[in-house]
């Protein structure tokens, strides 16, 4: 008996694709129809995905769905199957949140552009493909979804080429590198088919467990890992991400950082934890952790050198993905908790930050940090949301970034002491240091764009309309909630995903019939999770409230004892409230972003020059980076894993 909700995954994916075509057919002229179809499709898909929380997360069910009823026969899966376990649904939820917020934001944000019919078509295709990618149980289907995703993403990147010709360049680089990535994935899929004669993930996992590894399988692993790594933009495959995120419209950048690179991460987790689960864990995990650590360091140092708001955010996206990958790569339960939780948080705060960047662009027409300044006075809501996002990504308590980074450090250091491997200590130190550098670069944005003095050109700036503020407020609230109530979030959202990743036997059994896993040597594993911290953040919230109340009370009741507060007259500039310039008449003078952190940049100028030159902007160089990365992964696979 099929439950009604078992149709939801397919309907949500297909609904988005169908809506994409409907928009193209009916929505090219009429903007109400166009936006109506998009919004309804996104709402419906998100609602159906979120509904699946009840059966999958609460009841622990795994939903399997065979397209056209082609169930496996004789122990072989022929049809295309969708299978939604905790891991897939977790990423499905991230995806739904992202595209829902982005579609609400898009309404006003994109209103000044032409050809919006194409925009929404591609938008819906991107959303549908990522959702399909995380729900599918078939490796070739995974490849198809990756291709649709890349295709839609590239077209969306180039969407604003009229105003910004750089968008074309970003799109082209993304397309070239993305197609190398897709080709590598396809190569991996083909080789995997060669050794197992099936495309079903569950069956591949079981067969690989029972038949062991041949060089072909190792090669397939290396190829698929590098292909998915290109899709998740980890170093050294990160170069197109910076260009594409920076030039795409902000609503699309939100999609990129919220779900496109998460899709790559999902693929890598699926690959290492489920498909190739019996490989030499320690070495694979060391590889992932090293790539992760490198990614977060390179990402954040590049971000420090940027002077475009969105390009800076793009490099931070890369850096935070490094955190996720590093933590997932630790291979421990705690690490997986930290990594997945950080993936969730990254979707929230980076989406929020990209939306604020979009709001700044909407209001001022530029994202160049050297031209901005003093926006806080004109755009208080955007500034507040930006500060929430900035504090969250820098891991300032009590926001969500702190909670997940906290878990990640614990996991990394636990791994270091347990394995006795000094490399993990270096990774831990890197992680902690990168956090401060993240803070530094967001201080730079805060002081350069939002605080400080207003240039004359920005005097007329207005706050963005409410429909653009709404998604920012929702994201900010979610950032705070995930930080304060992180225990329930970990237990009810992240926990099922972690157990799904750690125990693939149920996944295999659901797909291939019960008992299939055991006959192929996949034993169900139960895992205990002891969180090392025991801090209740609600307590802290209470404390913050108490102290703030007390201080305010003292301040208010003693207004006469205390000195008076002298506020400036609106509109007028008197000498008393003017900025102090050593007695000179105050003029516009603003320390812009590129001028900050001088000593730091000077001391490390050797490093900054080298890393800056490596990001040369030449498509060929970037392709070479990819080839080198693939070679390293391949060599590592054959030397350490065979």
């Amino acid at each position: 008996m099929i439950q009604f909700y078992e149709h939801f995954p397919v309907i949500s994916v297909m609904g988005l694709f169908l809506a994409a075509f409907l928009v193209e057919i009916f929505g090219n002229k009429n903007k109400t129809i166009r936006y109506g179809i998009s919004l309804i499709a996104c709402l419906a898909a998100a609602a159906m995905t979120l509904y699946l929380i009840i059966p999958v997360f609460r009841d622990g069910k795994i939903i399997s769905y065979w397209m056209g009823g082609w169930a496996p026969e004789g122990g072989y899966a022929f049809g295309i199957g969708y299978e939604i376990d905790g891991l897939g649904l977790f990423f499905g939820i991230l995806t739904s949140i992202t595209f829902l917020m982005s579609v609400i934001f898009s309404k006003r944000y994109m209103e000044r552009d032409a050809h919006l019919g194409h925009y929404y078509t591609l938008f819906l295709m991107l959303a549908g493909s990522v959702l399909g990618l995380v729900f599918t149980g078939d490796v070739f289907n995974l490849f198809i979804m990756i291709e649709i995703m890349t295709f839609a993403a590239v077209a969306l990147t180039a969407f604003r080429h009229g105003k910004h010709p750089e968008a074309l360049e970003g799109a082209f680089k993304y397309l070239v590198l993305g197609s190398i990535g897709s080709s590598l994935t396809l190569l991996g899929v083909a080789l995997l088919y060669l050794s197992t004669h099936t495309l079903n993930m569950a069956q591949i996992s079981a067969l690989l467990s029972s038949q062991g590894f041949k060089p072909t399988t190792l090669f397939a692993f290396a190829m698929m890992l590098s292909g998915l790594a290109v899709k998740s933009f980890v170093v050294p495959f990160h170069t197109p991400a910076a260009d594409a995120y920076a030039t795409a419209p902000a609503s699309v950048s939100t999609l990129f950082s919220g779900m496109v690179n998460k899709a790559g991460i999902y693929g890598m987790i699926r690959l290492t934890y489920i498909l190739f689960r019996v490989m030499d864990r320690e070495s694979v995990m060391l590889l992932l952790a090293l790539i992760g650590a490198l990614t977060m360091f390179v990402g954040v140092t590049m971000a420090l050198a940027q002077h475009d708001f969105k390009r800076l955010l793009a490099f931070h996206s890369i850096s935070q993905i490094g955190y996720v990958l590093m933590s997932v790569g630790l291979g421990s339960v705690l690490g997986l908790y930290g990594g997945l939780f950080h993936a969730l948080n990254h979707t929230l705060f980076k989406g929020l930050l990209f939306l604020t960047a979009g709001a700044v662009y909407y209001a001022t027409g530029t994202t160049n940090l050297d031209k901005l300044g003093g926006l806080a006075k004109r755009m208080p809501a955007t500034t507040a949301c930006f500060l929430v996002g900035a504090f969250a990504i820098s891991g300032i308590p009590p926001f969500n970034g702190f909670a997940s980074k906290w878990l990640i450090y614990q996991a990394a250091y636990e791994k270091a002491v347990q394995s006795g491997n000094f490399v993990y200590v270096i990774i831990t130190i890197t992680a902690l240091l990168v956090s401060v550098m993240t803070l530094a670069s967001f201080i730079k944005v805060t002081s350069a764009a939002f605080l400080g003095q207003q240039p004359a050109s920005l005097k007329e700036v207005k706050e963005v309309p409410f429909s653009m503020q709404l998604p920012m407020f929702i994201m900010s609230a979610l950032c705070l909630i995930c930080g304060l109530l992180y225990r329930p979030v970990l237990t009810y959202l992240v926990g099922p995903a972690v157990s799904a990743a750690m125990d693939p036997s149920a996944y295999i059994d659901t797909m291939m019939g019960s008992g299939y896993a055991i006959t192929h040597g996949v034993l169900p594993s139960s895992m205990g999770f002891a969180m090392i911290s025991a801090w209740d953040p609600r307590f802290w919230l209470l404390l913050f409230i108490i102290v703030t109340c007390a201080v305010t009370l003292v301040a208010v009741s003693d207004a006469r004892t205390r000195g008076p507060v002298s506020l400036p007259q609106p509109g007028e500039t008197d000498a008393k409230h003017a900025t102090f310039f050593g007695g000179e008449k105050s003029t516009h003078s603003h320390v812009s972003g590129s001028d900050l952190f001088w000593g730091f940049k000077k001391d490390l100028k050797g490093y900054f020059h080298v890393i800056g030159d490596l990001h040369s902007g030449r498509t060929n160089d970037y392709a070479l980076w990819v080839v080198l990365g693939v070679t390293v992964i391949m060599l590592f696979t054959f030397i350490f894993l065979s």
Binding site: F140, I144, E147, T150, F151, V154, A155, A158, H161, P165, E166, L168, E169, G170, A171, F172, K173, L175, V176, S179, I180, S182, S183, L186, L187, V189, A190, L191, Y193, L194, H197, L199, A242, D243, A246, T247, A305, Q306, R311, G612, H615, S616, G617, R618, T619, N620, A623, L624, V627
Partner: protein
């Protein structure tokens, strides 16, 4: 026979990557992407191929007479078809981007198309 297929397809993939890494002309980079695609398609077809295999189509008579023979795996061929279609789309997209770049940047040299860097 089949080994030649594998060697050629790997060579094609390597050639495609080489073209992408070394040729400055954007059109040539797109051609490199195409070559890599063909290499992979060829590899997939070769995976399913069996020497002296027949097409996987049977009539009732074949089954009754018992002259079933070794057949070529059809799934890789289906995969190849899909992948060719996708490859064609990607190439079309890439070429259209190159046209736009030519229009806006007045060049198709990768050395010049690098406003986004650092």
């Amino acid at each position: 026979m089949i080994l030649v297929n594998y060697i050629v397809s790997i060579c094609l993939i390597a050639l495609g990557l080489y073209v992408m890494c070394s040729k400055r002309e954007l059109i040539k980079i797109v051609i490199g992407m195409g070559i890599m695609d063909y290499g992979i398609n060829m590899l997939i077809v070769s995976i399913g191929f069996h020497e002296n295999g027949t097409a996987p189509i049977y009539t009732l008579a074949d089954i009754i007479n018992g002259n079933l023979s070794f057949f070529v795996d059809p799934i890789p061929q289906a995969l190849t078809l899909t992948s060719i279609v996708i490859g064609a789309c990607v190439d079309a997209m890439a070429l259209s981007l190159v046209i736009m770049i030519k229009r806006r940047y007045k060049t198709t040299d990768a050395d010049e198309v690098r406003r986004l860097k650092g």
